[in-house]
């Protein structure tokens, strides 16, 4: 019986480990900046990878447990599960960018988001870690498509926000006549910000569309101006403004960095603020 009890909460125990792994990764990425040590950088990446693998294992185990309990659903159904998936998405998107652009400095500004998201699951108010059966409204295949697209989009926006913070820090230092040499070139940061938004925007669009399709099946209307829907639209409008400003009006640098941070604030409000402050159809997560 004891073995069974352990097995039933194995997934959350693994997440507790992953929290520390991501904290360690954040510290390593920060240490890597001033020391520029190759081995420090590599170990930061390896630690992050180990965290990602453990987190993936936790999600798989949670799904298996849910099937064993006879409920059988993917782990995307409450605030706790969405937070875990959010941090997972951030890490995946970040690792892809690190791999593609061979730059580890960004890690120090993006990994904290993954760490905070996971740490929040242990301290946040009203977060239940138990596996629960799905209420009828959530019993839909649209759930998986909707959650995956939304959170990958959110993760891309988290990256763009992290990069924008780096941009503003470096730009301010340069304005004062100095420089922060270990931060990547302003042009690189500006470009990364734009690229992350270009990944996030289609994903957010798809997330809104899958949500609308699902709402149409479950509630009989694809759009009801529910607060969550409205806030996702607000987020979408802000990033649409970002793209137009950047594409055609030629906004660069500081202006787009600030826009990106405003956009991510809207993302966070869509995801958490609406649930904490306003009630609506998404009250479960």
């Amino acid at each position: 019986m004891q073995g069974l009890a352990l097995y039933r909460t194995l997934d959350t125990k693994l997440i507790a480990v992953v929290i520390f792994i991501y904290l360690l990764a954040t510290v390593l990425y920060f240490c890597h900046i001033p020391f520029r040590n190759k081995w420090l950088g590599r170990s930061a990446t390896l630690v992050t990878l180990a965290g990602l693998v453990t987190e993936t294992a936790s999600m798989v185990i949670r799904t298996v447990i849910s099937y064993r309990m006879g409920w059988g659903h993917a782990p995307f159904t409450n605030l706790y599960e969405s937070m875990v998936f959010f941090s997972w998405s951030i890490v995946i998107i970040y690792l892809l960018i690190e791999w593609k652009y061979k730059n580890r400095t960004i890690g120090a500004f993006v990994m904290p988001f993954a760490f905070i998201a996971l740490a929040y699951t242990t301290i946040g108010p009203g977060i239940r870690t138990q596996i629960e059966p799905l209420v009828p409204a959530l019993q839909s295949n649209w759930l998986i498509a909707h959650v995956i697209t939304c959170f990958l989009g959110y993760a891309a926006f988290a990256v763009s926000c992290g990069v924008s913070v780096m941009y503003l820090i470096k730009a301010r230092a340069q304005e004062r006549g100095g420089d922060i040499a270990f931060l990547p070139d302003l042009r690189v940061l500006d470009d990364l910000n734009y690229k992350a938004v270009m990944i996030g925007f289609p994903l957010l669009t798809l997330g809104i569309i899958t949500g609308a399709a699902w709402a149409n099946y479950a509630w009989g209307s694809y759009w009801t101006w529910d607060p969550k829907e409205t806030w996702s639209l607000i987020t979408w409008l802000i990033y649409a403004a970002f793209l137009h400003a950047r594409f055609t009006r030629g906004w660069r640098g500081k202006k787009t960095a600030v826009l990106s941070i405003i956009g991510f604030t809207a993302v966070l409000f869509t995801y958490l603020g609406v649930n904490l402050l306003i009630s609506g159809l998404h009250s479960y997560a």
Binding site: P136, F201, L206, G220, A241, A245
Partner: protein, 469 residues
């Protein structure tokens, strides 16, 4: 964008400006927030209670009780749509020229100033060299055209020209979605209907008003059921068995569940709510215990007022049911409430149509039996009162327009974000002693990736041409 004079020109300039677009996107984002903070479509009393009389006056004047359908919000949307249309008309001709009449043979002076470019010498004749170069570019997915002008061979290659049109696909699809919403708003409706089990209705009460839409057919609720996950209070399934009747004849019967609506003649029915209308009528489930030494106990279900057959010609009639039994004046049984707080039923056992004996069953006092040594004793198992189901009913002829727009917007975004228009011009000139190749590239976005790609192409070309001299 040409700057034309006069009122018309200035108007055109205003409505085709991106400054207006960005302004509208921001204003829409900011004003949308208000509707998530202020209650929408509530009663005037609720506003007065929350914001005071003065607050309610402001809310009423600005239409803040229904922000997303207020005249100013819809005007902003209309303005955005108009802005999109004007911008598209303003810019489309230029983009279309890239598709219809690409710049195949620009002047050499123009080419000389473009970047990236590369020059190298070859041994082959211009004609042969261009053949080899064309193969390389075709392998990379480029569409090529060649021409020879005496000693000068020219080649033009491009791919991803569709990227020039992606932005129009995206913007057109935003318009399509808005039109779809408009169609739904004008010719669609959304409301609810409440049907008691066993009854039928054709009236739909429209949300946010007292208007009633009459359907051209009847909807009957055959039964309603809630299922729970074993051992929990979490509902697993809400299910209404619904029959559509045309001129009183059943045509379709289907279980309507959450996430599984019923669609009939363009009208959709969704499981939305439920409740118990009365606990005096409904279905009683009993355990029947035959006299000692007889058969094993078994269960029967009977409607209040109805009969069910037991055994050996005996029948059971549920004479009356009391959800919350109390004794009134003169010890008359009566109901204290409609809730199942003290359920009791008066039963009558018959044989060959003649009443034999009457017996009470009490849910909370199973050992009380009014008749001793009867052929059957009874135990209360459960009671399901008469339920009603609440169905959301909606008709939205614009929904397919919206889905078309949604599909197109994704196509448009992929075309504009992940494809770039790449062009390559090649000149091979026979200068007598040496033959020189000049390769020029151009891309409309993502220059860093293109210059890497360009480098690879040059490398492959030189390999294909057998090294340079």
């Amino acid at each position: 964008m040409k700057k034309s004079e006069g009122l018309w020109g200035r108007l055109w300039g205003f409505f085709s400006s991106l400054r207006l677009t960005i302004f509208l996107l921001f204003i829409l984002a900011v004003t949308s927030i208000s509707g998530t903070l202020i209650m929408q479509r509530a009663n005037p009393q609720q506003y007065v209670k929350t914001y005071g009389v003065a607050g309610y006056q402001v809310i009423k004047a600005l239409g803040l009780y229904d922000v997303y359908h207020s005249w100013w919000f819809l005007s902003l949307l209309a303005l955005l749509a108009f802005n999109i249309v004007v911008c598209s008309f303003d810019r489309f001709p230029r983009s279309w020229r890239f598709v219809r009449e690409p710049l195949r043979w620009p002047a050499r002076g123009v080419l000389g100033e473009m970047k990236p470019q590369e020059r190298f010498n070859v041994a082959l004749s211009p004609e042969d060299a261009l053949d080899k170069i064309q193969e390389v570019l075709k392998d990379k997915g480029y569409k090529c055209e060649k021409k020879l002008e005496g000693k000068l061979g020219r080649l033009f290659a491009q791919k991803g020209v569709i990227n020039r049109l992606g932005v129009y696909v995206t913007h057109l699809s935003v318009l399509i979605i808005l039109i779809g919403g408009l169609i739904g708003g004008i010719w669609g409706f959304s409301g609810s209907m409440t049907i008691v089990e066993g009854e039928s209705s054709r009236n739909v009460t429209i949300f946010g008003s007292h208007k009633v839409v009459t359907l051209p057919f009847d909807v009957r609720c055959d039964s309603f059921q809630v299922a729970f996950y074993p051992g929990t209070m979490t509902p697993k399934d809400y299910r209404s068995t619904v029959t559509i009747l045309e001129h009183g004849k059943p045509v379709v019967t289907k279980d309507v569940r959450v996430n599984h609506p019923l669609k009939y003649r363009g009208i959709s029915f969704y499981q939305a709510s439920y409740g118990t209308i009365s606990n005096r009528v409904g279905t009683l489930t009993l355990e029947v215990i035959p006299r000692e030494g007889g058969d094993k106990p078994f269960r029967v279900e009977a409607k209040v007022g109805g009969e069910v057959s037991l055994k050996d010609g005996y029948r059971l009639k549920v004479v009356a049911f009391f959800p919350d039994l109390v004794l009134g004046k003169d010890n008359q049984p009566m109901n204290r409430s409609e809730d199942l707080r003290n359920p009791a039923a008066l039963l009558e056992v018959k044989k060959d149509g003649r009443p034999q004996y009457r017996s009470w069953v009490f849910a909370f006092f199973p050992e009380v039996h009014s008749v001793k040594d009867a052929p059957f004793r009874f135990r209360y198992v459960s009671f399901k009162g008469l339920q009603y189901t609440g169905l959301q009913v909606s008709k939205d002829p614009g929904v397919w327009v919206v889905w078309t727009g949604c599909t197109l917007i994704l196509v448009g975004l992929v075309i504009s974000f992940f494809i770039s228009h790449r062009r390559i011009w090649v000149l091979v000139e026979d200068k007598g002693k040496k033959r020189q190749v000049q390769v020029v590239g151009n891309v409309n976005r993502n220059h860093a990736a293109f210059s890497q790609h360009f480098g690879e192409i040059i490398k492959e070309m030189r390999e294909a041409l057998g090294g340079s001299q």
